[in-house]
């Protein structure tokens, strides 16, 4: 049983992402916005297993999260795929402290990328004279999400990275 859990820990955490996405704990939010949860899983996963795995699981995450959100016209897949590939090219850092800050910065950048791509989709879908109304709330959403993702990433990513490394070594 223990062996099973050690091997499948990554997958168990993967399953948790949509649950947290749906749960939407308001007490962790800022201006009603949540951190972008999938990046916390995707970063350590891609760093250990590489760009191709990052791309595939970015796609999987996007598919799951798209199915949970109503906006059928917009998708999170492109952002997550790009992040998966990008995160896979990042090397692990030996200095723990620098590593923590790096996770924060990388996740913030990823969140900005995903948020911006989503915003552009909304913008192009609603191509009309009312587009200017969308700008301020959208910037607010993106900035709040970037801030929160960057804030939580050092804590969550470093823990997950350690767990994933441990389970990877066990599997090997």
């Amino acid at each position: 049983m223990n062996k099973f859990f050690t091997k499948q820990l990554c997958i168990l955490f993967f399953i948790l992402i949509p649950i947290i996405f749906l749960w939407h704990p308001n007490w962790l939010g800022f201006l009603g916005v949540q951190p972008y949860w999938p990046l916390f899983w995707l970063l350590p996963w891609s760093m250990i297993y590489g760009s191709i795995n990052g791309l595939i699981f970015g796609l999987f995450l996007g598919l799951i999260l798209d199915s949970l959100t109503l906006d059928g016209n917009f998708t999170q897949i492109p952002g997550l795929i790009i992040c998966g590939v990008f995160f896979g090219r990042i090397k692990l850092h030996h200095d723990n402290l620098v590593g923590h800050f790096r996770y924060g910065l990388i996740c913030s950048f990823g969140s900005f990328l995903c948020g911006s791509l989503y915003f552009f989709q909304i913008l192009f879908k609603n191509l009309s004279e009312n587009n200017f109304l969308l700008f301020i709330p959208s910037f607010q959403n993106i900035l709040a999400e970037v801030f929160l993702t960057g804030l939580f990433a050092p804590f969550i990513c470093s823990k997950l990275l350690r767990i994933f490394k441990f389970s990877w070594k066990k599997v090997e």
């Binding site: 749906l22 939407h24 959100t69 709330p137 959208s138």
Partner: protein, 250 residues
């Protein structure tokens, strides 16, 4: 050595009385800084039993309640009669489905509620969802046991609304923040802060006259349009129970 000890024991800070005075002084400084709020609050509690007119206030409130109830019943009757004359639809209690909110995303891009009633309970895509205060949104997706509601604040949401005071239709557009925008396609519409917004009688998506919100601010007219921010009456971030209207709009 003994001499030094005797001298030090007679210092002012070794006297209890001085410390008491110092404590009182600090307390008074605090009272001064807090502008007497302690006194006022204390007075509030001790004078509460002697306040004038608490009995009278209860009587007045009861009378107002009764008056409102009678007026409401009269209006209901009127409404029913007029609807019969105009051959409009009626809503009965059987047309409502009560549902609990099991997931709530009220921030960021995705603004939706997930309810614990689905197609098994007769919820259909397009049904209107109302909560305490008024309209929340429309059912956009159903599964066997759950249904997803797209909120009025979502960037996907666009509904027709009615401003009763100036008798004009408008379009309520969600922007991904707490205050959707109302677009009136008339530069000269006399919209004012505080105007009441309800669902439009001309809407093909919603039943008429469901309260939606109040005009919070009006922006400068642009080209042939006027835009206003609307403060919604129903607050999806705190509502735990909602009602789904089963009725179909013709």
């Amino acid at each position: 050595m003994q001499g030094i000890r005797r001298i030090s024991s007679s210092r002012w800070w070794h006297k209890k009385k001085n410390w008491i005075f110092f404590g009182i002084f600090l307390f008074l400084v605090f009272v001064r800084i807090s502008k007497g709020s302690i006194y006022k609050d204390f007075y509030y509690f001790i004078s509460k039993p002697f306040w004038p007119g608490s009995f009278q206030k209860d009587l007045i409130l009861k009378s107002i309640d009764q008056e409102s109830l009678i007026k409401l019943n009269l209006l209901k009757k009127d409404n029913k009669r007029l609807r019969e004359i105009l051959s409009l639809q009626e809503l009965s209690n059987d047309d409502y489905i009560s549902a609990a909110v099991i997931s709530r995303k009220t921030g960021s891009w995705w603004r939706q509620l997930i309810l614990n009633k689905g197609s098994k309970d007769g919820v259909e895509i397009g049904s209107t969802v109302i909560g305490p205060g008024g309209l929340l949104g429309r059912v956009n997706n159903t599964s066997l046991f759950t249904s997803s509601v797209i909120l009025l604040t979502s960037p996907e949401s666009k509904v027709g609304v009615w401003l009763d005071r100036i008798q004009i239709n408008g379009l309520l557009v969600g922007l991904g923040d707490e205050y959707p925008s109302l677009i009136l396609y008339s530069k000269y519409a006399d919209i004012k802060v505080g105007d009441f917004v309800s669902s439009s009688p001309a809407s093909t998506l919603l039943p008429p006259n469901i309260p939606i919100g109040i005009v919070q601010s009006v922006e400068e007219p642009m080209k042939s349009k006027k835009i206003a921010k609307i403060s919604l009456l129903a607050k999806p971030q705190v509502i735990d129970w909602v009602q789904i209207l089963k009725v179909k709009i013709k």
